[in-house]
């Protein structure tokens, strides 16, 4: 699994960073989420946890490998 990000939806709550600082960061300029490695393969559990914690639907967990 991997995670995709819709930056437009991000409200900068930072929950993704708090929970998985190895996967997510926040841009200094605008506070929006940055995926450290868009190609990162995640366990289903971690991908779903990140997507579920995000309050604004900016993160989704998707099956398969990132292209």
């Amino acid at each position: 699994m991997h995670v995709i990000v819709d930056r437009e939806l991000c409200v900068g709550a930072g929950l993704c960073v708090l929970s998985a600082a190895d996967l997510f960061d926040q841009n200094e300029e605008d506070g929006q989420v940055v995926l450290r490695d868009a190609a990162a393969q995640l366990s289903t559990e971690r991908a779903l946890a990140a997507a579920q914690l995000c309050p604004s639907g900016a993160l989704s967990a998707v099956e398969g490998t990132a292209r």
Binding site: G12, A13, G14, L15, V17, L18, Q26, G31, L53, P55
Partner: protein
């Protein structure tokens, strides 16, 4: 059909110091969406289940616009106060998509996890100074006045770039909002005093902004976006001061009472930052100081077996959601080690608390510093005799006597 006689009042009364109103458990099972009467007399739909609330908070048919006449307020208000709430709301918290996004974005970079972590030395210094003062005096202290209130006051002054003489005004106003013994007139008066002060500060910052503090940077970025006129900037500053104050102060006070129920867990929390971080999330969940927030439907919505019609008011009970066993097994148990971060104590959706990571830092530092410096701290009265605000939508305590 609405049967006016059988619609319960909201807020519902708490019976135990720590538990949300008992009715919520029954409502979650039998009537997850049901009608209540707000203190303003308005009838609104009370939503009590975790999943329903999360769904509604990302539904475009749910509006946060405080100007809507059916927006159910959780306190009795004068027409003037209602206008003020609507006005402050226009700065951020009462905006819907798409107006909300650009304004939230102006603040987001200020509240990142990294920026809030950079506040640690200031918060630590504040906590140490306040605890020094406690230790220098008699061993009987109201922790609300000695620590819980001044910590957020000083942190917000530091963050926003307000001078220290602001402390008095801000604290007087927060104190007046927080304590029920204060009369409505006095409340209105301190709030007007704060508004006049904020008005003047915004004028000063607008005339000579620096990039050294949040308000200065906001003024500078506003020169580019032009999203905030003077009134809105005053509203936003008021929002930051008010939203970040009573909530954090109440959480500090309640959190200490919660921790003192499980004294055997405290040394582990003092010693281990990860254990402290987990404890902070669980205390946020367990106490949920902001019980319910108001919304209004702008389209018909099917939820929990009922249809909420356009223009009907909605109250989302975060306190109930956070005690929903479906989301948190054995939710009524304070389990300081459980993974609780998905709680709704900071709300959900686009308005989820922008100051949450500042609040986390404050709680983390205050709890650990207090119990590492005063390990023998204990309540100065019986738990059941403490003045918990059992009839208030913002949960808290009027005073917290402690000794050591």
């Amino acid at each position: 059909m609405i049967d006016a006689l059988h619609i319960p009042d909201f807020p519902m009364q708490r019976t135990c110091p720590f538990d949300p109103p008992q009715e919520y458990a029954k409502l979650r099972v039998e009537h997850p969406v049901s009608q209540v009467r707000a203190p303003t007399g308005q009838i609104a739909w009370l939503v009590t289940r975790y999943e329903d609330i999360r769904m509604l908070l990302n539904d475009p048919r749910v509006s946060a616009d405080r100007r809507h006449p059916n927006m159910p307020l959780t306190e009795e208000v004068t027409p003037q106060t209602r206008r003020n709430i609507a006005e402050v709301g226009r700065s951020l918290i009462g905006l819907d998509r798409p107006e909300h996004g650009p304004r939230r974005k102006m603040l987001m970079a200020e509240f990142t996890v990294r920026r809030m972590a950079a506040m640690r030395p200031h918060i630590q210094h504040t906590a140490d100074e306040l605890i020094d003062a406690m230790l220098a005096g008699p061993r009987e202290v109201d922790l609300l006045t000695a620590l819980a209130l001044p910590t957020p006051t000083r942190t917000l002054c530091e963050l926003l770039g307000l001078s220290y003489d602001a402390r008095d005004i801000i604290q007087r106003s927060a104190n007046a909002q927080l304590r029920r013994s204060v009369s409505a007139e006095e409340r209105q008066q301190t709030s007007a005093e704060l508004r006049a002060y904020v008005d003047q500060v915004v004028r000063e910052k607008t005339a000579a902004p620096t990039d050294e503090d949040l308000l200065g940077r906001l003024v500078l970025s506003n020169r580019e976006t032009g999203l905030y006129d003077h009134e809105l900037m005053v509203g936003l500053t008021m929002l930051l001061l008010v939203a970040g104050h009573e909530t954090t102060a109440s959480m500090i006070a309640l959190g200490v009472t919660g921790l003192l129920q499980q004294p055997e867990k405290i040394p582990g929390i003092v010693a281990d930052p990860a254990a402290a971080a987990a404890a902070v999330e669980e205390l946020l969940r367990y106490f949920t100081v902001v019980d319910a927030l108001p919304r209004v439907a702008v389209g018909d919505i099917e939820v929990g077996g009922v249809t909420i019609r356009a223009d009907e008011g909605i109250l989302l009970s975060f306190a109930s959601a956070n005690w929903d066993d479906e989301a948190f097994p054995d939710a009524a148990t304070l389990d300081l080690a459980r993974p609780a971060r998905k709680h709704l104590a900071f709300g959900y959706g686009i308005h989820q608390c922008i100051g949450q990571n500042l609040a986390r830092e404050e709680l983390h530092i205050v709890f650990r510093t207090l119990f590492s410096r005063i390990p023998t701290l204990r309540l100065g009265a019986d738990l059941d005799d403490l003045p918990f605000k059992k009839d208030s939508n913002i949960y808290g305590i009027d005073a917290l006597p402690v000794t050591w």
